[in-house]
């Protein structure tokens, strides 16, 4: 049996970058997909709205782990060969992030006062221009705190990828537990790493939200 030492710690630390990388890739993909979902949900074309609603409901109404299994075995079914979990994990987490960010941002777009739409229409701007020049810049400001909050959810969510064998922080902890048999040391340590990643983001998100509330409270009423 191995003792938990520097090598084991290094192994876990190095696996941390896969947690980070997966989170960042899914977040980047989710930003693109989420933007599309948010625009579809606030569109004037009804079928686009329905499609986006169904997409969001499906992802928010099923377990992340099941989405991951379906992506993993779905890729296997489509290609006929069992591949390493990377593509499936990326697909699943990107689609997951797109659904949640899309729903968050839909709320932010709708939170922009209706008068802004009306004023822009009075200036005879086109819908696309109103969205791009008037609505989205204001929605983006409102969107920052909950988006940072979702990043925390995403980072924590990537731990689930360990269940299908993707080696990230949690899986590395499991592997090291298997060879050293020191779960008392390793799992709290792994939790500590997640905490070190997520807590500053949570605090940032809360601080931004508080600042925005304060700004809103002091803003002149139209």
């Amino acid at each position: 049996m191995r003792q938990f030492g520097w090598n084991e710690l290094l192994f876990i630390l190095l696996a941390l970058r896969w947690t980070l990388l997966l989170s960042l890739v899914a977040f980047a993909g989710g930003i693109v997909g989420g933007m599309m979902i948010a625009l579809m949900k606030t569109s004037t074309v009804a079928p686009l709205r329905w499609a986006a609603t169904i997409y969001v409901r499906l992802f928010q109404g099923t377990p992340l782990l099941m989405q991951l299994f379906l992506a993993y075995y779905g890729v296997t079914v489509l290609t006929g060969v069992r591949i390493d979990p990377w593509p499936a994990v990326i697909i699943a987490f990107t689609a997951y992030a797109a659904a949640f960010l899309g729903d968050i941002w839909r709320g932010c777009i709708e939170a922009v006062p209706r008068e802004q739409w009306e004023a822009a229409e009075a200036l005879s701007l086109r819908r696309l221009a109103i969205m791009r020049l008037i609505i989205l810049p204001q929605a983006a400001r409102i969107a920052i705190p909950p988006t940072v909050g979702f990043l925390v959810q995403l980072i924590k969510g990537t731990s689930v990828a360990s269940i299908i064998g993707f080696v990230e922080l949690t899986r590395a902890g499991q592997l090291m537990t298997n060879v050293t048999f020191q779960p008392m040391t390793i799992y709290p340590l792994v939790a500590g790493f997640y905490f070190a990643l997520c807590w500053p983001l949570s605090i940032l998100s809360q601080a931004l939200e508080k600042r925005m509330d304060a700004a809103r409270a002091t803003a002149p009423i139209l």
Partner: protein
């Protein structure tokens, strides 16, 4: 490559899947009850207790909210035996889910308590009520009413998150599905159907929670 979907195999194992779904519901309902109890206690302690206790509660909430449920379950199931606390997989699952929900629900409930008008609390004090009485009789019910939608969403998140307890081999729908797919080699079909069952359960629980809201907060009393 051609792949022929065979859902007949899934139909053959239908009773096992239904039993798994019921186990998931049982696990989740237990955790909802315990989690809500933890949250009410913690929300009270955070406001009314001496500083060290309030700080301990805040620490618990932050740790729960900033670490993954999966790692929390691993600590309870694999690390705690080192301290002499040995739990069955199902006990560990209920404990883990309850503590997890408790952390989130404490934070949700706090927002509701903060929204209670100060005058109401002062009125209670003027009547000579104790802190506990003020919390129980004046603050708790209206606070729960205010945050009920957020709590209900958290309950649904818990139901879906419970699939993760399959990683510590607690018996529920995901665990049952894992076993079935590994013996029948029809992974996609089984996970597809299990996902559908989760969706149905999420919808059913959501409807039930909306019904409770109507019974308790809308029709129940005029607050």
């Amino acid at each position: 490559m051609r792949y022929v979907f065979q859902f007949g195999v899934v139909a053959d194992h239908w009773p096992a899947l239904v039993a798994g779904a019921l186990a998931t519901l049982r696990l989740s309902l237990l955790a909802m009850a315990f989690g809500l109890a933890i949250a009410i206690l913690c929300a009270f302690l955070r406001r009314g207790a001496p500083r060290p206790i309030a700080l301990a509660v805040a620490t618990y909430v932050e740790i729960i909210r900033n670490t993954p449920l999966l790692v929390q379950l691993f600590i309870i199931y694999f690390s705690l035996p080192g301290l002499g606390i040995r739990l069955e997989a199902e006990e560990a699952a209920v404990l883990g889910l309850s503590l997890n929900l408790g952390g989130y629900a404490t934070e949700i409930l706090r927002a509701g308590l903060d929204a209670i008008p100060k005058g109401q609390i002062e009125a209670g004090r003027a009547l000579g009520l104790t802190r506990l009485q003020i919390f129980r009789l004046i603050m708790l019910f209206p606070a729960l009413r205010i945050v009920y939608p957020a709590l209900a969403s958290q309950f649904v998140i818990l139901l879906l998150g419970s699939s993760i307890v399959s990683a510590i081999s607690a018996p529920e729908l995901t665990g049952v599905t894992n076993t079935l797919q590994s013996t029948t080699f029809r992974a996609f079909e089984f996970y597809f159907v299990a996902t559908g069952l989760y969706l149905l359960m999420a919808i059913a629980v959501r409807l039930a929670l909306d019904g409770i809201q109507w019974l308790v907060f809308v029709r129940g009393r005029a607050w």
